[in-house]
């Protein structure tokens, strides 16, 4: 036997055998063991005829397996931290703290980004609202949007066909002076800054469309101011009377102007500055 026997089983040296050196003794013993019946036979014998002295060994082996099973269960059942030593725990805690600090700074960073994005989106919404408002205002001014609101309806009855373009134009100017915001003639033509007026065959050409009497002017603005603007001497009504026509003015609750213009892109004018 090349290996020293382990703690496990070598019997204590009997006092009488001290004169032999140990190696010699071990050799003798292994020879003895070799002389004994085969290992398998001995195992068989001890299996079939258990002796009382085996009980203690059985108890110890049972203790070992009991502890081993307990340890295996403990290791797999409980969480990772329960079996750790203090130093290991401190290390784990440090690691967790570092991770938490990192996560905190990440949260702060992300919150900052979120606030920035929210601000910019707020600004964008405000800008969009403003732009929409402006678009509505400009759309009414330029006649690209239908309009509705308080105002007056003027009907010029011109049976003789003598109502002149100049008088119509004067009348519209007076209405504008009185604060007319949107004007429509005969439910067909929207009057805006670029609108042209000309004499036509049996009527008046407005923006290239021939309009015939009676002329209906729908005007949005303050009804009282507009009505008064028609009345002053040498004004709208007098002009119509001069051309031997008649004027009827009514004040509906809501004046609807549905005629629109397609906007024209300026060819020469560009925004200055």
């Amino acid at each position: 036997m090349p290996d020293e026997p382990s703690d496990g089983g070598a019997p204590e040296q009997p006092v009488g055998e001290t004169k032999f050196n140990r190696r010699h003794l071990a050799e003798l013993r292994s020879e003895l063991a070799a002389d004994q019946p085969d290992v398998r036979e001995r195992m068989l014998r001890s299996f079939t005829r258990p002796s009382g002295s085996q009980v203690l060994g059985g108890v110890l082996v049972g203790l070992l397996t009991f502890a081993a099973v307990t340890q295996v269960r403990l290791y797999s059942d409980t969480n990772t931290y329960s079996g750790l030593r203090q130093s290991d725990l401190v290390q784990a805690l440090n690691g967790l703290q570092a991770a938490s600090t990192k996560a905190d700074s990440e949260i702060a960073e992300l919150t900052k980004t979120r606030n920035r994005l929210r601000n910019s989106s707020d600004q964008r919404t405000t800008a969009l609202e403003q732009a929409t408002k402006e678009l509505n205002t400009l759309g009414i001014l330029a006649g690209t949007l239908p309009a509705a609101g308080p105002g007056i309806r003027i009907v010029v009855i011109d049976k003789r066909g003598q109502y002149s373009v100049n008088h119509l134009l004067d009348g519209i100017e007076e209405l504008r002076d009185a604060g007319a915001e949107a004007i429509e003639i005969n439910h067909r033509v929207r009057v805006v800054a670029q609108t042209s007026f000309a004499d036509g065959e049996g009527g008046i050409e407005v923006d290239g469309q021939l309009l015939t009497a009676p002329y209906t002017l729908d005007v949005i603005g303050d009804p009282d101011t507009l009505s008064r603007a028609l009345d002053f001497p040498g004004g709208f009504k007098d002009d119509v009377t001069l051309d031997q026509g008649k004027t009827k003015v009514s004040t509906p609750k809501v004046v609807r102007i549905d005629a629109t213009r397609t906007p024209t892109t300026p060819q020469y004018a560009v925004p200055a500055s």
Partner: protein, 110 residues
């Protein structure tokens, strides 16, 4: 025979009772188990060598467990518990390998 019975009984008891290990014992239990395994394999080897003795087995079993636990305990007190338990496990592992090699030679003559 009785040892095999004891082994089975230990596994069954451990599984059935699911004992709670006291907190102070938790670091020592794995080391104690490895030390006891060393004692059992040593006993098995001695048995095959024909040198087995109950008394030596009992004493070696208990002293192995106690000494292993003691080393780890002292290591914990000195602040090198983790390293010392690693050392104990390595040493016991080498011994278990040696014993199992001797058993193998007996059983398979190789």
């Amino acid at each position: 025979m009785i040892a095999v019975l004891g082994m089975i009984l230990g596994v069954v008891l451990g599984l059935v009772f699911k004992p709670d290990v006291p907190l102070w014992m938790e670091p020592y239990l794995p080391i104690a188990v490895v030390a006891a395994m060393d004692a059992v394999f040593g006993a098995l080897r001695a048995y095959f060598d024909g040198l087995f003795s109950d008394k030596v087995f009992v004493v070696s079993f208990i002293s192995n467990v106690v000494i292993a636990a003691l080393i780890v305990f002292i290591g914990d007190k000195l602040g090198v518990g983790a390293q010392l338990s690693t050392g104990v496990v390595v040493v016991l592992g080498i011994r278990i390998f040696t014993n199992v090699a001797a058993i193998r030679r007996h059983l398979f003559h190789a």
